[in-house]
């Protein structure tokens, strides 16, 4: 029986109707929330059955565990289900990636997508031209960042030998409490030199390695650049043998004697981190893993770790990326099309990756997650001192360059980098084995030979 106050045409909601509508609503909400993690890549067309295509990927065990969880369980799963491709991801320790790449090339068999943490320019002949992938990404999110392009494009052969999905800035991380005690800050290398003896006397040396490992390589090449010494010029011609390089090497040897520990000659990539975590180091150059870990472990000085751009030298403030995520597709890859699509989609949707990595990974295609947006996220980081990560965006945007700057990263530069010639050059002087002039001259001769070899092969 209808109510007399009920408007014409209106229908009274019975208990059964209510239950039915509530049920439909609950199902809709449930379905939407279940699909939420996948929402950014569209609906899944092939869920619930064995997927037809295949794609195998190998990459590092990311420093941030949440990134691997997102990558494996959300991104790859969702992408695979959407594209009818079974995606298998394998993670190995970053220090083992070069060995694995060499083995895959030797066997002419391996993963469809191979990610390394530096551009593998010397394998240019082993990989496809990634130009179409770059074009596809640029079409969707805008220009390839200058850093990414300089790291993966060979202007001589006009070939993209990789696609960089991300890079990691390499700031200076310093103990504000210790530096404050002596009334200094690492604004310039002269400041560092002045503070080093005082900090060492208090039991807190500077922690810049001079060993055959990634972090020393990065820090010392950037240090050379701050002094106006470059391994190559903008046309990729070797230029290491310069007066400025000698000055830089002498300066670092002096810094070592005044304010460092001999242990730096035997360091591995984790040594500077451990040096900082142990409460000993007063300053290191590293990715933000060095601040995130003390925050996670609640170390007593976690709030005293400040992030700054690399100290300025006579030539300015020129830093390098800490690591450069670069994906290659081998010529012998069995699933090239899937690999190409996967890589393009990943770079286009890189905002998710940057967030999952807790701002460790910055997109190499800045349009995927603009700096202004990242800056807001960084500023909202709750760790003390409040806003400490905001500067990271500025470092990523202004002070981060490619290996081989002002030229491009090429096979010769890759070899110089992989053979750790620059840390050796510094260490020989710091250890008193050679004079700065002799060490630079000897290294320059080796560098010239490497460049001549790759020039002969037509790669530079």
């Amino acid at each position: 029986m209808a109510d007399i106050d009920e408007p014409a045409g209106a229908k009274r909601l019975t208990r059964r109707d209510l239950l039915r509508k509530a049920g439909v609503g609950a199902v809709a909400v449930g379905a939407a929330s279940a699909g939420a993690p996948y929402a950014f890549a569209g609906p899944m067309r092939f869920k619930g059955r064995w997927l037809k295509g295949d794609l195998s990927i190998i990459q590092w065990v990311h420093f941030v565990p949440a990134y691997d969880v997102w990558f494996d369980n959300t991104w790859c799963k969702q992408w695979g289900e959407k594209n009818d491709v079974q995606v298998n991801v394998e993670h190995i320790n970053n220090t083992l990636l070069d060995t694995r790449a060499a083995a895959e090339v030797a066997a002419q068999s391996g993963h469809d997508l191979f990610q390394n943490l530096h551009p593998m320019a010397s394998y240019e002949d082993q990989v496809i031209n990634h130009a179409s992938i770059v074009a596809e990404i640029e079409h969707k999110v805008g220009k390839y960042g200058a850093l990414g392009k300089a790291s993966t494009y060979n202007p001589k052969t006009k070939k993209y030998f990789a696609v960089s999905d991300n890079y990691v800035p390499d700031p200076v991380i310093w103990r504000h409490d210790l530096w404050n005690d002596i009334g200094q800050s690492p604004a310039t290398w002269d400041h560092v030199m002045a503070a080093a003896p005082k900090l060492k006397a208090k039991g807190h040396p500077i922690g810049i390695g001079q060993s055959q490992e990634l972090d020393s390589d990065m820090a010392l090449i950037a240090f050379l650049m701050c002094f106006g010494a470059f391994i190559q010029d903008e046309d990729n011609r070797p230029t290491l043998g310069s007066k400025r390089a000698v000055e830089a090497v002498s300066f670092m040897a002096s810094l070592y004697k005044k304010g460092e520990d001999p242990a730096i000659f035997g360091w591995n990539p984790a040594s500077n981190n451990n040096y900082l975590y142990s409460g000993t180091a007063s300053m290191i150059l590293n990715a933000i893993s060095a601040t995130r870990t003390p925050e996670q472990l609640n170390l007593p000085f976690a709030d005293q770790l400040w992030i700054w751009p690399i100290p300025a030298g006579p030539h300015g403030r020129l830093g390098l990326e800490h690591v450069m995520g670069c994906y290659n597709i081998w010529k012998f890859s069995k699933n090239k099309e899937n690999a190409e699509k996967f890589l393009a989609d990943l770079c286009i949707n890189y905002k998710q990756a940057t967030l999952a990595s807790q701002l460790y990974n910055f997109p190499s295609f800045p349009g995927a997650f603009p700096f202004s947006a990242i800056r807001k996220v960084a500023a909202a980081d709750p760790h003390k001192p409040k806003g400490k990560y905001t500067i990271l965006t500025t470092i990523a945007e202004k002070y981060t360059h490619n290996i081989g700057y002002p030229g491009t990263t090429n096979a010769a530069m890759d070899e110089v980098f992989s053979k750790y010639l620059i840390p050796q050059m510094f260490a020989q002087v710091s250890q008193g084995k050679l004079s700065a002039a002799d060490s630079v001259r000897d290294t320059n001769n080796v560098v010239k030979d490497i460049y001549a070899k790759w020039k002969k092969r037509g790669k530079i």
Binding site: F63, A106, A107, N274, S289, P300
Partner: protein
Amino acid sequence: MAWRSRAFSYGVVVPFAALLAFPFAWMAVTSLKPEAQVYDPTKVWSFHPTLAAYGFLFHHTDYLLWLRNSCLVGLMVVVITLAFAVPAGYALARLAGRIGRALGVAIFLTYLVPPTLLFLPLSRVISQYLHLSDRLWALVVVYPSFTIPFAIWLLMGFFKTIPQELEDAALVDGCSRFGALVRIVFPISAPGILTVVIFTFSLVLNEFVYAITFISSSANRTLPVGVPTDLIRGDLFNWPGIMAAILLPSIPLALVYNLFLNRFITGFTGGAFR
């Protein structure tokens, strides 16, 4: 006089044993510390034991799978090594003269080629010809390439210490050559064979380069590859987890070594005295 000699022995042995035991004690203590405490400089000497590292190992990694894989590969390689090395070692020991010696040296020289060079050509063999990429069989095929030469060399020295007359006597008593080998030579050679078993198993358990090159999926990893891959994230070492992962397999291995210590020493020094 006796107590002086004993005191001297203990005086030498106790500090030496303490020195050798120290890394294991450090491993045990670190494995029981919370991760934050390992890094915290203010808590180096404080100790609040927890089994969190062991829990992480068993619940968040494929640790048991790695352990199983290592044991499986180890056992198969031991069997293959013995199958080749025992007859080869015996034959070379009995091959008197320059040829036997030269062959023995040549076989041992192959052991000296480092895996860091061999892994490149071997990856092609494993991948393209044998199609064993990412399978434990790849390791079962490759590992004997360095365990067999060493085992042959070790057993060759050991077999040389067994007098030929014993075999001759068995032959005179109606044994065939194979029968003499099984009934007389092998039982006497038990310490040498045991040494080969333990040494081969240890080599396999420690091998890294081939394992990282030929195996990629987590489920097929062996212990030496699984630990650094899953317990080191970039530049962050999970020290309690790493220590726990290393400590666990080292305990049974140490017990086995202790159990057969005398035989093990006899096996190693067998070829040294005649």
